[in-house]
C-alpha cells in the first residue's frame, strides 16, 4: 500500500500548481479510504492530460464517465474539508 501511494504520488506531480495541490491533497487525505474500483478510477484519472484534468477539476467541464465525475467531485470536496488524519511527509508541508 505504502509503495502504491508513493508511486501515485509521483503521478500526482503535474505541470500546474492547481493540479498538484488538488491531487496530492486527495492522495494524502482520502486515497486510503477508496475501494479497489475507486483506486482504479483514481489511477485512470491520473492518466489524463493536464489540460483536461484542469478543465474537470476547476469545473469548466464534467467528465462523461459517471465514476470519474464522482471522483472529480470528491477531489474538489477534499480541498475544502479539514484534514482527517495526520498527513504524510509531502502533505505536511502544504
Amino acid at each position: 500500500m505504502e509503495r502504491q501511494i508513493q508511486r501515485l504520488r509521483w503521478q500526482c506531480r503535474r505541470g500546474m500548481l492547481e493540479l498538484d495541490l488538488l491531487l496530492n491533497r486527495f492522495l494524502d487525505q482520502r486515497y486510503a479510504e477508496l475501494d479497489s474500483a475507486g483506486s482504479a478510477d483514481f489511477e485512470r484519472l491520473l492518466g489524463y492530460q493536464d489540460q483536461i484534468l484542469q478543465d474537470w477539476l476547476l469545473g469548466q467541464a464534467v467528465p462523461a464517465d459517471p465514476a470519474l465525475s464522482r471522483l472529480v467531485a470528491a477531489i474538489q470536496d477534499c480541498m475544502l474539508e479539514g484534514p482527517r488524519t495526520s498527513s504524510s511527509d509531502a502533505g505536511a508541508e502544504r
Binding site: Q6, R7, R13, G15, M16, L17, L57, M79, E93
Partner: protein, 591 residues
C-alpha cells in the same frame, strides 16, 4: 550504493535534462538530424511546467498592428531595465518570427484573425516605433499556448525517435579532468537504480525554482535542479536576485489572481478595513506597478495590519462589482476561489499575498546557449560540452525584468539555438571522451549521503522552513538588515540539512529520496538568490530595495555571479552591443 565501476552506462550524442519547451525544441532539432538524443525527465514529459503557460509567444509578425523585430528589441531592453544582453535580445527578437512559423508548421494550432493570419494580442510593455503606440505582438493558441506547444513538440520528438528516459531524476553532471561535460548520473525513480548516461554534449533545460518560496505559482516540480547541478559543477549562477513576484496570489496557496481583477475595479483592504493603497500610491492606487503593490501588501502585514487569525494576508475585494461582472469578466478567478477557498468572489473578498512567479536569473550562457563561466581568459569562457536553455538559464534576455510573452519565446529560440550549436560541436568532436570512476564518484557520494541511517530531522520540515525563510527574508520586501539576517539563517539551515535523515530507504518508487535530493537543490539556489540580492544595493527591475530605491547605472549596470564555493560573489559587464544595430543606452524606465 553501488561502486562507480559497477554502474550501467548508456551512450548518446546529446543528453538533455528536462522535457519542457526548451529541452524538447533542442531535442527535435537534434533527432531530426539523426543524432542519438536522450531526454531525461523526472515526470512524464507532457507534465512539464511549460504546460501551464497561458499567455503566448511574442513575435513581430505585424499581423494585427504594424510591428518590427527592432521595436520588440527596444521593448525587451527597456523592460529588462537595461540589464539584458543586447546581442542575445537582438537574436531572440529576430528569431522570434521564423520560430513561430516553424511551430505553426509543426502543428501548433495558433488562434487566427479573420483573414487567416495568426492572431496577435496586445500585452503590457509592447510598443510600436520605440516607445510609441501600443503594439499587438503575442501569438496564442487560445489560453493554452504552452500546452499546445509542449504536446506538439513531444509528438514530433516521438516521430523523430528521440529516446525518452521518463521518470528519471538527474543527480549530478559528470565532468572530466579538463572540465568538459561528459554526461550525468541519473536515477530511475521507479526502480531506484542509478544509471550513467555518457554524452558528447549535455543541455540543462530544467526550468525554474519557484518552490523555494512559500507562496508561489509554480508546479511542485520546479525545484531548480539544473541550476543546482551547475553550481555543484563549479559554474556560477547569474542575476539570481531578479525574481518576478505577482502582487496577488491566493494566500497560503500561491495561484495567481489576475491583474484584471484590479483592472475591473477590485481593490485591496487591510485588517482594519482600510483601502491602504491610497496611502502608498495616491494616484494609481491599486493599479500601481506590481512591485509597488507587492511591497505595500507586505509592509501592511509586517506592521501588524494583516487580516485573518495570523494577520498574514490582505483582502482583495471584487464583491462590489456585482455577480455579473465577476462571473463573466473574471471566470478564472471565480473558479479558483470556488475550488480552493469555497467562496464566491462576488460575495466575499479573496485572501491574497504576493506570489513568486518567474526567475530571470540562472545558468550563464551566451546566445548560442553555451554555458559560460569566468576562467583564465575572461568572465565568459565556454564550458565545453555544456549548454543551458529556458528558465534555468540566464542568456540574458530578460535582464532585471521579463516582459509577458517573452518566456515561451526564450525557451523556444534558445532551445533551438542549443540544438544548432550541439550539431556543430558533435561534428567537430565525434568521439566520447573517456569517463573514469573518479569523474563519477562525487555524484555517487551525493546519492550515498541520503542512505545514512538513524534519527534526524524530516525533509518536509526543513523544506517548509526554507520556503518560509526565503519568503520572509528575500521576498518582495528587501533591505540590508532583513537579508543579512536571512543569509545567516540560511547558512544555519544549510548546516541542518546534513542532519536530515530519510526514514524510508527502499529502492522502488522512493519519492522521499527524490524530495530529499530536491531539498539539496532548493537550498543551493536559495543561497544564490539571497546572496545576490543582499549584495546588489540598488533597485532595478524586479529587485527592489527599500533602502536603495534608485537604479544606479554607474555602479550596478553589471551582472551578478554567485559561486557556491565560499558563497562568493563576482560580477561581469552587461553586453550592451547588439549584433547589427545601434545599442540602446539606459534611460529611466517609465511607461
Amino acid at each position: 550504493m553501488p561502486a562507480a565501476h559497477s554502474l550501467p552506462h548508456r551512450h548518446f550524442d546529446a543528453l538533455i535534462i528536462g522535457a519542457g519547451g526548451a529541452g524538447l525544441n533542442a531535442a527535435l532539432r537534434l533527432a531530426a538530424a539523426n543524432l542519438r538524443v536522450a531526454v531525461v525527465s523526472k515526470v512524464f514529459p507532457t507534465r512539464s511546467h511549460t504546460v501551464a503557460a497561458q499567455g503566448g509567444v511574442n513575435a513581430a509578425l505585424a499581423n494585427a498592428l504594424p510591428d518590427n523585430w527592432h521595436w520588440h528589441m527596444f521593448d525587451t531592453v527597456k523592460g529588462s531595465d537595461y540589464l539584458g544582453d543586447q546581442d542575445a535580445i537582438e537574436t531572440m527578437c529576430r528569431e522570434a518570427i521564423p520560430t513561430v512559423y516553424e511551430l505553426e508548421h509543426a502543428g501548433v494550432p495558433f488562434s487566427r484573425l479573420d483573414n487567416g493570419k495568426i492572431y496577435q494580442r496586445a500585452f503590457g510593455g509592447q510598443s510600436q516605433n520605440f516607445g510609441g503606440e501600443q503594439a499587438a505582438r503575442t501569438c496564442a493558441a487560445a489560453d493554452r499556448t504552452g500546452h499546445a506547444i509542449l504536446h506538439t513538440l513531444y509528438q514530433q520528438n516521438l516521430r523523430a525517435k528521440t529516446h525518452f528516459f521518463d521518470e528519471y531524476f538527474a543527480v549530478d553532471l559528470i565532468r572530466d579532468d579538463e572540465g568538459v561535460a561528459i554526461g550525468a548520473l541519473v536515477l530511475d525513480i521507479e526502480s531506484g537504480e542509478p544509471l550513467i548516461i555518457e554524452a558528447k554534449t549535455t543541455l540543462l533545460a530544467t526550468g525554474g525554482y519557484g518552490q523555494v518560496f512559500r507562496t508561489n505559482t509554480n508546479a511542485f516540480i520546479n525545484t531548480g535542479d539544473g541550476m543546482a547541478m551547475a553550481l555543484r559543477a563549479g559554474v556560477p549562477l547569474q542575476d539570481m536576485e531578479f525574481y518576478q513576484f505577482h502582487p496577488t496570489g491566493v494566500a497560503g496557496k500561491g495561484m495567481l489572481i489576475t491583474e484584471g481583477a484590479r483592472g475591473e475595479g477590485g481593490y485591496l483592504v487591510n485588517g482594519e478595513g482600510e483601502r491602504f493603497m491610497e496611502r502608498y500610491a495616491p494616484k494609481a492606487r491599486d493599479l500601481a506597478s506590481r512591485d509597488m503593490v507587492s511591497r505595500s501588501i507586505v509592509t501592511e502585514i509586517r506592521e501588524g495590519r494583516g487580516c485573518g487569525p495570523n494577520k498574514d494576508y490582505v483582502l482583495l475585494k471584487v464583491d462590489h462589482l456585482g455577480a455579473d461582472v465577476v462571473h463573466h469578466r473574471l471566470p478564472g478567478i471565480t473558479d479558483i476561489c470556488r475550488v480552493f477557498l469555497g467562496i464566491d468572489p462576488a460575495k466575499e473578498p479573496i485572501p491574497v499575498f504576493p506570489t513568486a512567479h518567474y526567475a530571470m536569473g540562472g545558468i550563464p550562457t551566451d546566445r548560442h546557449a553555451r554555458v559560460v563561466a569566468p576562467a583564465r581568459h575572461g568572465p565568459e569562457e565556454v564550458v565545453p560540452g555544456l549548454y543551458a536553455a529556458g528558465e534555468c538559464a540566464c542568456v540574458s534576455v530578460h535582464g532585471a525584468n521579463r516582459l509577458g510573452g517573452n518566456s515561451l519565446l526564450d525557451i523556444l529560440v534558445f532551445g533551438r539555438a542549443a540544438g544548432t550549436d550541439i550539431l556543430s560541436y558533435v561534428a567537430e568532436h565525434p568521439n566520447h571522451r573517456p569517463m573514469r570512476d573518479a569523474h563519477i564518484e562525487p555524484a555517487i557520494a551525493r546519492l550515498a549521503r541520503w542512505e545514512r541511517q538513524g534519527e534526524g530531522e524530516r525533509v518536509a520540515d526543513v523544506k517548509a522552513e526554507l520556503r518560509r525563510l526565503m519568503e520572509d527574508h528575500c521576498g518582495v520586501f528587501r533591505d540590508q538588515p532583513t537579508m543579512a539576517e536571512g543569509v545567516e539563517k540560511l547558512k544555519a539551515l544549510r548546516e541542518r540539512v546534513e542532519g536530515v535523515r530519510l526514514r524510508d530507504h527502499s529502492q522502488t518508487f522512493n519519492t522521499a529520496r527524490i524530495e530529499a535530493l530536491e531539498l539539496d537543490n532548493l537550498v543551493d539556489v536559495g543561497m544564490a538568490t539571497m546572496m545576490s540580492a543582499l549584495h546588489r544595493d540598488e533597485s532595478r527591475g524586479a529587485h527592489s530595495r527599500v533602502d536603495f530605491p534608485e537604479r544606479d547605472d554607474e555602479r550596478w549596470m553589471k551582472h551578478s555571479l554567485y559561486l557556491r564555493e565560499g558563497d562568493r560573489m563576482d560580477y561581469k559587464p552587461v553586453r550592451t552591443k547588439p549584433l547589427t544595430v545601434e545599442s540602446f543606452p539606459p534611460k529611466p524606465r517609465v511607461y
